[in-house]
């Protein structure tokens, strides 16, 4: 029972354990560290000092330099992403309630319909959306909505409303069916049951879905690349791309630009990360949490 020779001291073991994790964490942090310190380097310093060495005389020059070209795209992203993500998530939640009713009814037809719709919203969530490039651009162009907020919002809805419905379908299953059955027996209308019962009960799930949608919409690069051409309508991830000139021709402002583009999702991740994580986990486990 007493400690045997050859057994590693538990304190040493724990220290090695921590050390291994810390090594990986440090490696994982290198890019964000580089982004922050190099954003504060002057033009000359960026080209002459190693990327991993912090600036000897920090300056906010690069931020001032990129701000004029990034302020409008940042504003565009803010104006567009938050309402789009909210509407997509809310309308998606309403559909999730409908799917929930559908999958809890017993008819064979509705189970087929439910499987079909469920596959469809899953496809919309996971499809490489770039594959819809041509018809989507054509559709938006035909509606005369290229280079407009409406056109972008419409395109985002095609992918992120089903995502909202899929995630909320998963979160809604946590509500005991008996509660909703009781409400239906009390002759509640569907809208009332949703608004008074289902929505409040699945609010944490709704927030997770919303955060997930905000981050995904914000970081979407391809859709705004296709649907906007005028500089005034650019969204932030696409604008950041203009700071690379192709074939490793880099400008010193890339770091500042990347920082400005990342600040909103990163801020959300830092303060509301657990909701984002819960949203991701729901996609993979049907709502069982960490």
């Amino acid at each position: 029972m007493s400690s045997k020779p050859g057994r590693v001291n538990p304190t040493v073991k724990a220290a090695i354990h921590q050390l291994v994790i810390i090594i990986f964490v440090v490696i994982w942090l290198i890019p964000i560290y580089a982004m922050v310190i190099n954003g504060l380097k002057s033009n000359v310093a960026v080209y002459t000092t190693p990327v991993l060495i912090p600036p000897s005389s920090p300056t906010i020059e690069p931020f001032q330099a990129v701000w004029s070209s990034l302020s409008r795209p940042l504003l565009n992203s803010l104006i567009l992403v938050l309402p789009v993500a909210f509407i997509a998530t809310f309308l998606g939640s309403m559909a999730a309630y409908f799917f929930y009713m559908l999958s809890n009814s017993f008819s064979r037809v509705s189970s087929f319909v439910s499987n079909f719709l469920f596959s469809l919203i899953s496809l919309a969530t996971f499809i490489p959306y770039q594959a819809t490039l041509i018809p989507l651009t054509k559709l938006i162009a035909d509606m005369g909505l290229l280079n407009t907020y409406w056109g972008l919002a419409f395109a985002f809805f095609i992918f992120y409303m089903p995502t909202g419905a899929l995630l909320m379908s998963i979160f809604i299953t946590a509500i005991p069916p008996r509660i909703i059955e009781a409400a239906r027996l009390d002759r509640g209308s569907d809208w009332r049951i949703f608004y008074k019962l289902v929505f409040p009960l699945s609010l944490p799930g709704f927030i997770s879905t919303l955060i997930f949608n905000i981050i995904e919409t914000w970081n979407n690069f391809f859709i705004p690349l296709m649907l906007t051409t005028t500089p005034n309508m650019r969204l932030i991830p696409v604008t950041v791309q203009s700071f690379t000139g192709g074939y490793a021709t880099l400008y010193n402002e890339t770091f500042a630009a990347a920082f400005i583009a990342s600040m909103v999702p990163l801020g959300i991740f830092i303060f509301l990360g657990r909701y984002f994580i819960r949203g991701l986990i729901a996609l993979g486990t049907g709502g069982k949490g960490v």
């Binding site: 029972m1 400690s3 057994r7 538990p10």
Partner: protein, 359 residues
């Protein structure tokens, strides 16, 4: 074999704002080869105590010794669970679902680097004793509750542990096979003479398995004795309630003819002398009787006339609730061998000297 000694074991859980004292200065000496029971309501700290013995939790304060060797002290695990040579049966059995019964039982042996022949021999031996030799190739999900429990027991026993820990071992079993499971555990404990600690909220487990028992209430060890002694002279009403069914009443102390009585509405219960004016009474169900007769002999003392309020049935006996004629809310439950009609008046008797009095 190993004796287990706890000195001043205290466990405090800190959650966000408040501190929860799970164990409060527990001192206990469990003898080598003894079968010891720990009784307590759920959440009273008895499982925490067992986990500290196993090494799965660390005491906030106090010391734990196995045979005078310090194994845990304040916030420090001196000997980790894997080196304590403990066999444990978890409340949910905790069988590895991805392994057959055989592999489950072999699991602790594989850590010991034993030869395959020796391993097979030991597993066959223990599964013969426990009557699971024919299900060794099955997965846990294919076994009945009783078989699963015996596999868990086999897994705990196969490595010849110095201490066997049983955490609510029978609560997940069907009521009808619990007694045979209890008998099996008791028999094995008797044969192997392993120091055994059983934690349970069910007095039946304690009576059937434990030679001695400790009662933990609100984190404190309040009484240690033979189960029958705890049953007949519990230190508090909580202990009395935990270890058996009990009728509880509040009485007013009165004296007449040099005898002391506790008066509850129309009833008068004979008691021993107490200092207080008001007392709490506890009477075991088997110490109460109702009858149409006026006297039942010297052993039984007449308490008063009572009216039958409810008549029901429970495991072979009729369960009759009676009340004093003047107060419909003072309910007394009596077990009798025949039903009584509701509303009729009967005579209520108590066994002399069996009224428990708590301050």
């Amino acid at each position: 074999m190993v004796n287990v000694m706890a000195k001043g074991i205290t466990k405090i859980y800190k959650s966000r704002r408040k501190e929860v004292v799970a164990l409060d200065n527990v001192n206990i000496d469990i003898h080598s080869g003894e079968s010891f029971g720990i009784l307590g309501p759920s959440g009273a700290g008895k499982t925490t105590f067992m986990r500290i013995i196993a090494g799965l939790d660390i005491p906030t304060q106090g010391e734990l010794y196995f045979n005078d060797e310090l194994v845990a002290t304040s916030n420090k695990l001196v000997v980790p669970p894997e080196d304590r040579n403990i066999g444990m049966v978890f409340q949910t059995w905790a069988l590895y679902p991805n392994m057959t019964a055989y592999d489950n039982i072999a699991f602790p042996l594989r850590s010991l680097r034993m030869s395959k022949d020796e391993e097979r021999k030991r597993i066959n031996e223990v599964s013969e004793i426990l009557g699971i030799a024919h299900v060794l190739n099955h997965y846990p999900r294919e076994l009945s509750g009783g078989q699963q429990q015996r596999v868990a027991l086999a897994r705990a026993l196969v490595k010849n542990p110095s201490i066997l820990l049983l955490d609510e071992p029978f609560s997940n079993l069907d009521a009808r096979i619990r007694d045979s499971a209890r008998a099996l555990v008791r028999r094995i404990q008797n044969e192997l003479k392993i120091t055994t600690i059983t934690v349970s909220h069910d007095p039946a487990d304690i009576f059937s398995i434990a030679e001695r028992a400790g009662v933990i209430v609100h984190g404190k060890l309040v009484q240690v004795d033979k189960p029958s002694a705890i049953y007949s002279s519990p230190v508090t009403v909580e202990v009395a309630r935990l270890i058996g069914d009990l009728v509880e009443l509040n009485g007013r102390v009165e004296e007449s003819n040099n005898k002391i009585y506790a008066v509850v509405d129309d009833f008068t219960f004979p008691i021993n002398k107490v200092a207080a004016n008001n007392v709490r009474l506890g009477i075991r169900l088997e110490d109460l009787k109702i009858s149409d007769e006026v006297s039942l002999g010297d052993e039984w003392v007449f308490v008063g006339r009572a009216r039958v309020k409810v008549s029901s049935y429970s495991s072979g006996l009729f369960r009759v609730t009676v009340v004093p004629p003047s107060n419909d809310n003072t309910e007394i439950v009596v077990m009798v061998d025949r039903p009584f009609d509701v509303g009729r008046e009967v005579n209520l008797f108590v066994k002399s000297g069996k009224v428990l009095v708590f301050p």
